[in-house]
């Protein structure tokens, strides 16, 4: 037995609350972030990811105090993303207790930020979040990188982008299918598999989980190193432990 596949609950946080929307719109309240984090920790989550989707810069510092509070009670890796624009933002999040920082839009605007942050703090704490959307038909079909919460096309090929991020020092990729996110119809397995085969760094599959079979598929068919989900955990449908037990029954090595 060796390295376990990771199950990562994701907490979208705005104005101090956990929320979840469909395709980044229509937010629904899912609780206090510290309480939610503690619950998932008790259930055996392997890591936690917080995405700060706060729109107003006035509320930006709220995430720092949330992370501080969580980090004092929860002793598993914490990843924080959303609104990371500069090396200084990375520093502030790490100092608040984050173990990894996820960079998305700012990496597209300034790829050197990834190299600088990885050079300063190490690749192990730099996650690059890639929001990918399927474009084109037939032999032209590929995935394109989108930014600004999936609203803005970049014209960048997602796989090329992933390779470039790896070369610049990203320690892992948080890969979200914008076509599937919030739809509960399962991961984009082709996308996940393409990334996992093209890159040497770990891939976290994200976007679309609605059933436990989707989690299994993400690992076995998508060849992901970790699977991330939000809504199936938030509303009490499944606990993290139930998810892991289900995955273990399907032959996946998990930490139980």
């Amino acid at each position: 037995m060796g390295l376990a596949k990771r199950i990562i609950p994701c907490l979208d946080v705005t104005a101090g609350r956990v929320v979840k929307g469909v395709n980044f719109v229509g937010l629904r309240d899912a609780g206090d972030p510290v309480e939610v984090a503690r619950r998932y920790d008790d259930q055996g989550a392997d890591e936690l990811t917080f995405l700060d989707i706060t729109a107003s810069s006035d509320d930006r510092d709220l995430i720092l105090s949330i992370i501080e509070e969580v980090a004092a009670q929860v002793f598993i890796p914490l990843t924080v993303g959303g609104g990371v624009r500069a090396v200084e933002d990375v520093r502030r999040l790490l100092n608040a207790g984050a173990d990894k920082v996820s960079i998305n839009t700012a990496a597209v605007q300034n790829p050197r930020l990834v190299a600088e942050a990885a050079g300063r703090y190490g690749s192990q704490c730099i996650v690059v979040a890639v929001d990918a959307k399927r474009v084109g038909e037939g032999p032209e079909a590929h995935w394109e990188v989108f930014t600004h919460g999936g609203r803005k096309a970049t014209g960048i090929d997602a796989l090329d982008w992933g390779r470039k991020m790896e070369a610049l020092g990203a320690g892992e990729i948080l890969l979200t299918s914008m076509d599937r996110d919030g739809t509960r119809s399962g991961f984009d397995l082709e996308l996940t598999c393409a990334f996992s085969e093209a890159l040497d760094i770990p891939i976290i599959a994200s976007g679309g989980v609605g059933t436990l079979d989707h989690m299994v598929d993400g690992i076995i068919k998508g060849r992901a190193d970790a699977v991330l989900a939000a809504s199936i955990f938030h509303y009490g449908e499944f606990t993290v432990r139930q998810t892991k037990e289900y995955m273990a029954r399907h032959g996946i090595e998990v930490r139980l």
Partner: protein, 228 residues
Amino acid sequence: MTDVAVIDYGMGNLRSVSKAIEHVAPQLEVTVTSDPEVVMRASRVVFPGQGAMPDCMREMDARGLREAVVDAARRKPFLGICIGLQMLFDSSEEGDVAGLGLLRGKVRRFPHDAMVDANGNKLKVPHMGWNEVHQSMQHPLWEGIASGSRFYFVHSYFTEPAEPQSIAGYSLYPFSFSCAVASGNIFAVQFHPEKSHTAGLRMLANFVAWQPMAGVAGDTRPLAGAMR
């Protein structure tokens, strides 16, 4: 006097380490410090490290901490974590840099060609996530932790001790590599106990209670000349 000094040489986030120790030992004074004097006076020392080993060595020296680290490693309960384990060895392939030479052996990168599992699937580097840690000796720091418990790892280089008797634990990825070493008052691990939930917290609790100078023979297997 500081009970536990967590050595800060500017490489990465040490808050997790200090928070986890405070959590298991609220009665102790835990200080994150880059001051060699504070390290010299501390009862116990934690030596963490993140990022690249050449940077870690350079930053440690830039702060004048080498002497205090070596002193602590020779005579105090000393816990190395991640790059703080790797730096204790003679040298690393990472940047072809010399280490502190407190333990014999070298640090190697996971070789690209070997990174395939039993089913032929590619294994990623860094080795990131929860892996089983198999204990290869009895030691007070393993107290209450089952052999095979999972700990959280994130690293691309691993240690290859020249003295196998210092190996306290190993993991598989896909080959067996040493992930914990013990030598006298030194215990050092590749994984992150501060991020390893119950098993990790137990290890930190064991560390703050460890008395390596008293009755060593009863607690560990004899360690032949692993240092100096």
